[in-house]
């Protein structure tokens, strides 16, 4: 009986009272009346949103009655498999706070936070962060902090956010808790109610051995665990190695912004998942599912791994904007592709206002997302005498710094251009002035790009400095190849 929980343990219970309904509502922010029905005969309303409740719909009502009250009602059927998947998604997201995450039931998650509260600046900021994070994911939860998981769960079932971190306060609070919150058979609870035992406080005032004999050891143990008198191990949740999740939209959507609103929910979940793995994503696939057409894929490739939800959503916006949808979208699926290790960066003691190094890549990614992967590039020199081969395009930021001792123009024309009177680039009202040259370049006989040229630096009549060449040995024509600018 003297088994005490490890000192300083603190558990948060996240309870999602109407997960089945939240699943369908998190993809949008429209307040249209909606319900989730439970299959049966007749089908009954399992839960309803505020808009539906205002019209008089209540859980437990027959769906036909609810429909009569609100003809525009959106009706979805409960899908436990989807709920389980959603809960696993939340659990994966929660692993960014602490490695100790456990699925307690079909709509409850437990996380152990004593080890990480320092990191997040104390209990209050941490629980605030968890709450705000859940709201960003589109979920509404009761969050209860208590020194052991059973107590946290039982209190969360009361539907009130509380935070208890000392044992005496816990005992006082639990004493007021109704026995109906326990995981015990309804007959047992009803029997106890007949005896006038309604709360844990009532229960604790009765002799233990008699209670054990009449109601079994199980109930005694559950209450003892809640009081921290028995060890309370929980099976750990392990997140799947690769993230993928779907989100069903409350109503079909064709516009970009509502789609992004929903996509952001999934991206945030992904970001939490990646934070736990100390990884960043380099490939991401967003699939837009339609009722009748094949899904529209939106692919994102990043040159630097990232797990910054804001950044990823911005990139998706650029990718999504030009996409032509054949039909409204009903469901979004986000599949994480390749990930690469990405450590969290140290925060500067004295913020110098400069963005961290990873953020340098955000602008590059944004430009590439909208302008195309090949439109945005770096430049480097290449050791070749032929001007066309003396530079190379590189991936952004991958160029070597390079050196050059030669006199070369700042602009190179994509194609050398035959010089003719009235050229728009070279003004020839008066004779051109030779500034430098010739510089003879002969190279490339070994590949298919043989160059035999004499290059000249010339000033034209309007004062611009241009780079001309003439083919050797007997070319008559002059070509413009660059502008010194």
């Amino acid at each position: 009986m003297n088994l005490h929980p490890a000192p300083g343990m603190l558990w948060a219970a996240l309870r999602f009272p109407d997960l089945s309904l939240q699943l369908y509502l998190r993809g949008g922010d429209s307040p249209a009346p909606a319900i989730v029905q439970e299959t049966g005969n007749p089908p009954r309303v399992l839960s309803c949103n505020d808009a539906a409740a205002k019209t008089g719909i209540k859980p437990g009502m027959a769906v036909s009655a609810a429909h009569a009250l609100t003809p525009t009602l959106r009706i979805r059927t409960r899908d436990p498999a989807k709920e389980a998947k959603a809960l696993a998604g939340i659990a994966a997201w929660a692993t960014q706070f602490t490695p100790t995450v456990s699925l307690a039931s079909s709509n409850e998650i437990l996380i152990e936070i004593s080890g990480c509260q320092r990191l997040f600046g104390g209990l209050r900021p941490l629980s605030g962060r968890i709450r705000a994070g859940l709201a960003d994911l589109g979920y509404r939860a009761t969050v209860v902090l208590a020194p052991n998981p059973t107590a946290a769960l039982l209190l969360a079932r009361d539907g009130v956010d509380t935070s208890i971190d000392d044992r005496h306060a816990l005992r006082r609070t639990l004493a007021r808790l109704r026995l109906t919150r326990l995981d015990q058979p309804a007959q047992t609870i009803a029997l106890l109610a007949n005896l006038g035992v309604h709360t844990i406080g009532d229960w604790l005032s009765l002799p233990r051995d008699g209670l054990a004999r009449r109601f079994g050891q199980g109930m005694l143990d559950e209450i003892d665990r809640a009081l921290g008198l028995l060890p309370d191990p929980r099976p750990p949740f392990s997140a799947p190695p690769r993230y993928s999740a779907s989100l069903e939209l409350p109503a079909p959507v064709q516009e970009t912004e509502p789609l992004l609103f929903a996509a952001k929910r999934l991206v945030l979940e992904l970001a939490g998942h990646l934070a736990m793995r100390q990884a960043g994503i380099t490939r991401l696939r967003l699939e837009l599912q339609h009722a009748h057409h094949a899904p529209t894929p939106v692919l994102l490739g990043l040159s630097m791994p990232s797990r910054d939800a804001g950044h990823l959503v911005t990139l998706l916006r650029e990718k999504l904007a030009p996409v032509r949808l054949p039909e409204a979208v009903e469901t979004l699926t986000l599949v994480a592709g390749e990930t690469r290790p990405l450590g969290s960066h140290n925060q500067a003691l004295f913020a110098d206002g400069r963005p961290p190094r990873e953020e340098r890549w955000h602008i590059v990614e944004r430009l590439r997302a909208r302008l195309g992967v090949h439109a945005v590039h770096g430049l480097e020199t290449f050791p070749d005498h032929r001007p066309e081969r003396a530079y190379r395009r590189t991936l952004p930021g991958q160029a070597a710094d390079g050196k050059c001792e030669l006199q070369r123009p700042l602009w190179l024309l994509p194609q050398p251009r035959r010089l003719h009177p009235g050229d728009s680039l070279v003004a020839m009202d008066t004779p051109l002035v030779l500034l430098d040259g010739p510089e003879r370049l002969e190279s490339g006989w070994w590949d298919d790009f043989d160059v035999k040229r004499d290059y000249f630096v010339v000033r034209d009549s309007a004062g611009a400095k241009v780079w001309l060449y003439r083919e050797r040995p007997d070319g008559r024509d002059w070509f413009v190849h660059g502008v010194f600018a």
Binding site: Y391, G397, D401, G402, A464, D474, G482, A485
Partner: protein, 225 residues
């Protein structure tokens, strides 16, 4: 008299007949004559500057090279957005620019050019953003200016000299021309003070080996053996 002098020493007093010395974050242009005429003593950061040229290729890039070389030592990108031709890597390297910092963004439309310029100016990690839009108007320039203020970039928008007559919200506007081998820089607008006479700059300080005497071009200037 001495009382007046001591009052005038007070930095809070601005004398309209002199060029205002404002503490603007700036980057030296590399041309002392030009630096002394620019409000912060160099190219202003957090500002969009308009460079209006009578023709392209007269030295507008050489004018920026010393500052860009300096900025390429800093963290972040030098963005070249919608350049009219290929920015030639060997020449950039010869001017001392760290090529690993240079990013070229080619665009398919003027809308994309302005979008990319605005994003880059705002990003806060592009010390220099050079853009060659086909056309700009007052509204667009104002947006770019706001973005530059936010990101602290040295933004340069290249345009045609014809625009000089049109109003512009850009705090610094220069018109560039060329005569003989010298670049003429006319400050059309700057913060703090009025107009200046045209400056003549020599953008090619380090002359390369032996400049041959001017030759009339119509005759063959080089006869191959």
């Amino acid at each position: 008299m001495s009382a007046l002098q001591s009052i005038l020493q007070n930095p809070a007093i601005w004398r309209g007949n002199e060029q205002a010395r404002v503490a603007l974050p700036s980057i030296p242009t590399g041309f002392p004559e030009l630096d002394s005429e620019l409000p912060g003593g160099g190219w202003p950061r957090g500002v969009v500057s308009e460079l209006l040229t009578e023709r392209r290729g007269i030295g507008e890039l050489s004018l920026l090279m010393p500052a860009l070389a300096e900025l390429s030592r800093q963290d972040g990108w030098l963005m070249l957005i919608a350049p009219p031709w290929i920015p030639y890597a060997p020449a950039l390297a010869a001017h001392g620019i760290r090529l690993s910092r240079v990013i070229v963004a080619n665009t398919a439309s003027d809308k994309d050019t302005l979008w990319a310029a605005e994003q880059s100016l705002r990003a806060g990690n592009c010390p220099a953003v050079l853009a060659w839009p086909a056309g700009v108007n007052e509204h667009v320039l104002r947006r770019l200016q706001l973005a530059a203020e936010e990101g602290g970039s040295f933004g340069v928008i290249f345009g045609e000299a014809m625009r000089a007559a049109l109003p512009s919200p850009a705090p610094l506007r220069l018109r560039l021309g060329v005569h003989q081998d010298r670049l003429s820089v006319k400050i059309l607008k700057r913060r703090g003070s009025g107009l200046t006479p045209t400056l003549w700059l020599d953008t090619e300080k380090k002359k390369t080996v032996m400049t041959p005497p001017p030759v009339r071009f119509r005759q063959p200037i080089y006869a191959s053996a």
